[in-house]
């Protein structure tokens, strides 16, 4: 138990500088980008000189770099995410709207890619070098090579237009769906195509990690010993080969989930899912500093939390970890 507490304490403390650096990075990125939020807005509407000046005043965009930096640091210190310029609403409310969609997509993608990747990896790693192994590994490479926006469009054309099994876009139906059960089914129905488009590439990663681990495990002494003892093949495979090979799979999962919480601009755009990726993109094109800082910080925080969970899971699965150092 002390290992876990130590891990939590160290991670919690080290998160603070990470978040600070990330927030300042986002602030500086937009500070040094040419044009400000008013320029971005006027690009859509036009307006005379007085109009631009009034807009800058009302948005608090006047002032010098030092003044804006001071304002930014104050809001950071008070944990105030502030007001989004692009949406004319509090940043927290915008993120609260978008984050669940991204988390849903992240969870479904991880389950889909993890499940399929590990399953296929197991099939391929059962007899390395067999026909099944070659077939699966080649197919996985193909999946890895397909760009996800293209796969997304392909899926839409095939499974939403030509053969209309799934909705073209969106995260839920616009009309009522009849009760919470219906809403859940509706959500799942909408998530199928984006999950496949986003997850296809990850399948290969999981598969290859597991397969490599299994190939290695087959050579290990404990497996040979088990085989020599005449244990059943299935039990050798499950306990001697798959189990140790799963650990690196978990590491890969932690990294992938980290990438996924940032959202995917491409898949969110193709499937019109209002998520964090598109939000970050809108924040940058709108020069919306408060919003970008909010998006980046919440994504970072999630990554840190997920990494922590993965580490705890690893520590639980593998007693060698954390016993001598945190």
């Amino acid at each position: 138990m002390t290992r876990v507490l130590r891990l939590l304490a160290v991670r919690g403390l080290s998160a603070i500088p990470t978040l600070l650096i990330v927030a300042c990075g986002a602030f500086l990125l937009l500070e040094f980008a040419p044009g400000d939020a008013v320029d971005a807005y006027l690009a859509q509407t036009g307006g005379d000189a007085g109009f631009a000046a009034e807009l800058r005043r009302s948005l608090g965009l006047g002032g010098t770099f030092a003044e804006r930096l001071a304002g930014f640091l104050v809001s950071l210190a008070t944990l105030d995410l502030g007001q989004s310029v692009v949406f004319a609403r509090p940043v927290a409310s915008v993120i609260a709207e978008r984050l669940p969609n991204t988390l849903l997509l992240m969870a479904s993608t991880t389950l889909f890619a993890g499940g399929l990747g590990l399953g296929l990896g197991m099939l391929a790693g059962r007899r390395p070098g067999s026909l099944a192994d070659h077939g699966i590994s080649t197919a996985a490479l193909l999946l890895l090579a397909i760009p996800n926006f293209w796969l997304g469009l392909l899926l839409v054309v095939a499974l939403a237009v030509s053969w209309p099994l799934f909705p073209v876009a969106g995260i839920r139906s616009m009309t009522g769906t009849g009760g919470p059960g219906g809403a859940l089914l509706d959500l799942a129905h909408h998530l199928v195509l984006p999950t496949i488009a986003l997850g296809a590439g990850y399948i290969a990663l999981y598969l290859r990690t597991l397969r490599a681990g299994m190939v290695e495990a087959w050579q290990a002494d404990h497996v040979r010993a088990a085989q020599a003892r005449g244990l059943r093949d299935a039990s050798v495979l499950r306990r001697g080969v798959v189990r140790p090979a799963l650990l690196p799979g978990l590491v890969v999962a932690g990294q992938n989930i980290g990438t996924l919480v940032g959202g995917s601009v491409v898949v969110e755009t193709v499937f019109a899912i209002p998520g964090m990726g598109r939000l970050a993109f809108e924040a940058v094109t709108g020069r919306d500093t408060a919003l970008l800082v909010g998006v980046v910080m919440s994504a970072t925080l999630l990554v840190l939390v997920i990494n922590l969970i993965v580490d705890l899971a690893m520590a639980w699965l593998d007693p060698r970890l954390g016993s001598t150092h945190a």
Binding site: L42, G46, A169, M174, A272
Partner: protein
């Protein structure tokens, strides 16, 4: 290839005619009911058209909040909406509006002249992006009775201009909701309350807007549709797919890529409709920084104009869905447009001769001088034309380096910092040269005014024409002045007009009465209906 594409265009037009009359389905009597789902690609943070006169706002808001008058084809070009009559005094000091009887706001309160006076004085004039220019001399709006609003101007203001501004700049919002608190942050800016055929029902950010039928609309029996849903679809490929799958029935403003148009036009049940945008014509222009000494020479600017093959631009970049342009007023506006301007046809030899004459011979590397070229990121076509222009200029010995920016950076570089030599722009012509066109030519504007003369062009003759036209109350005199202005623009070439383009609507054939006025996508849709 070009001929082939025109055939498709002609075919599309013929199909539209069928769609408009409804004969394709053997139905000619409008049917009430149904939900029309359309594509939307932006969600403006302020949806109030009395404050933000832009197409992105109008696309949704014009169904909820109505202007005093709307554009129509033919006649005098205007149809009554909230106003039934408008009359200007001969001295240009007053305009009297008679307002429609029996109109109420969506919250049940009656619509009166006080709403018009409030909208004009508190929103259009001080806050609206375009109204600040057109209504800047509006002194007061008198309301002798609930049905009459009298606009009083401090200096003579052409009635012609006020008329032409009504569809776009004169959206009326309810005084009783706006008179308390800050107008800029009023909740009604996003949850619209108007008098229009549809009521604002719901906005789920990132997903959709939903409008529903106003059962007590002033025009009996309208609207036909029960609901209009705007689905936010940021990807243009997804819009095409959603149309094919009939999950949306209409996409306006060329939301579907031009390259997909040919394919979609062949899908049974889908029509490509080029009409309905004449009132919002965009112009493809080359913006020129006159601070560069080479470009300050009119011969060099003329040489650049001669280096451009307008026909190629129209056929290749716009796939035929555009027209070559000869100046600041598009051909659609027959009131002001002229054809006799100095020739700027495609002629490379002439271009080279002019450049030689200007003392800019080709150097050892074959180039005469080099420029920074900033294509505006607004449209696919403005970027593509940037690539074309680079090649076209290279052929006459001008080395153009393309600088790509996102919208905010482009706006700042061109209109505030003047950090460009050539830029590709796409100004909108809004039914009268005084609304957003003369500003591209008049001098003395401060830096930072977007879509204005930030080019360093200053001509006393041009400024004089614009000033005189601004207060010319006699329509004939005003028209002549703007014709002279176009001639001078053609001689001086402070900026080069290359093409004029409108948009395309792609719609299921079940949608009826599409594109039946010159700013259809940004109008009321009260008469739009769905065939069974």
């Amino acid at each position: 290839m070009a001929l082939h594409r025109r055939d498709i265009l002609a075919g599309a037009t013929a199909m539209t005619a069928v769609a408009l009359t409804g004969k394709a389905h053997g139905q000619t009597t409008p049917r009430s009911g149904g939900i029309l789902t359309v594509a939307a690609d932006t969600e403006p943070r302020n949806l109030n058209p009395a404050m933000v006169a832009s197409n992105g706002v109008f696309y949704v808001a014009s169904k909820v909040i109505e202007p005093l008058a709307e554009m129509v084809e033919g006649g005098d070009g205007l149809a009554p909406r909230l106003a039934t009559r408008w009359e200007g005094s001969p001295d240009g000091r007053t305009v009297t509006f008679t307002l429609r009887e029996g109109v109420s706001w969506h919250d049940g309160r009656p619509f009166t002249s006080a709403d018009v006076a409030f909208s004009a004085m508190r929103l259009w004039k001080p806050l609206q992006n375009l109204g600040r220019i057109v209504f800047k001399n509006l002194e007061a709006v008198d309301t002798p009775d609930a049905r009459t609003a009298v606009f009083r101007f401090s200096v003579p203001t052409p009635f012609q201009l006020v008329r032409n501004a009504l569809p776009g700049l004169a959206s009326v919002v309810p005084k009783h909701l706006y008179e308390v608190g800050e107008i800029a942050t009023n909740p009604a800016n996003t949850r619209l309350v108007g008098t229009g055929p549809f009521r604002f029902a719901e906005h789920r950010p990132g997903e959709f807007y939903r409008l529903e039928k106003n059962p007590s609309y002033w025009e009996a029996g309208r609207p036909y549709l029960d609901q209009i849903i705007y689905r936010v679809l940021p990807d243009r490929g997804a819009i095409a797919a959603a149309l094919e799958a009939n999950q949306i029935q209409l996409a306006a403003f060329s939301a579907v890529p031009l390259a997909d148009m040919e394919r979609l036009a062949k899908v049974p049940g889908i029509a490509v409709i080029p009409q309905g945008y004449d009132g919002i014509t965009y112009q493809l222009t080359v913006e020129i920084n006159h601070r560069r000494k080479e470009l300050a020479d009119a011969r060099v600017r003329r040489a650049i104009a001669h280096a451009i093959d307008r026909k190629f631009v129209v056929d290749t970049i716009f796939l035929g869905y555009a027209k070559p342009s000869n100046g600041p007023v598009p051909a659609f506006d027959k009131q002001f447009h002229i054809t006799d301007v100095p020739d700027t046809g495609f002629d490379r030899r002439r271009a080279e001769a002019l450049l030689d004459e200007a003392g800019l011979p080709r150097a050892a590397n074959g180039m005469r001088f080099s420029v920074r070229l900033l294509p505006a990121p607004w449209f696919e076509q403005t970027r593509q034309f940037g690539d074309y222009l680079r090649q076209a200029l290279r052929a006459v010995g001008i080395d153009a380096q393309i600088v790509n920016n996102d919208p905010a950076a482009h706006l700042k570089a061109v209109y505030t910092d003047h950090a460009f030599d050539l830029a590709i722009g796409s100004p909108v012509y809004r039914n009268d040269p005084a609304i957003s066109t003369t500003i591209l030519y008049e001098s003395g504007l401060p830096a930072g005014v977007p879509f204005s003369n930030q080019y360093g062009y200053a001509s006393p003759a041009m400024d004089g024409l614009i000033r005189r036209a601004a207060s010319a109350v006699d329509p004939a005199e005003r028209t002549t002045l703007y014709r002279d202005m176009q001639k001078l623009a053609g001689t001086d070439l402070p900026l080069i007009h290359v093409a004029e383009f409108t948009f395309l609507t792609v719609a299921r054939r079940s949608v009826m009465n599409v594109a039946n006025n010159p700013r259809w996508a940004t109008s009321h849709w009260a008469d739009t209906w769905l065939s069974a």
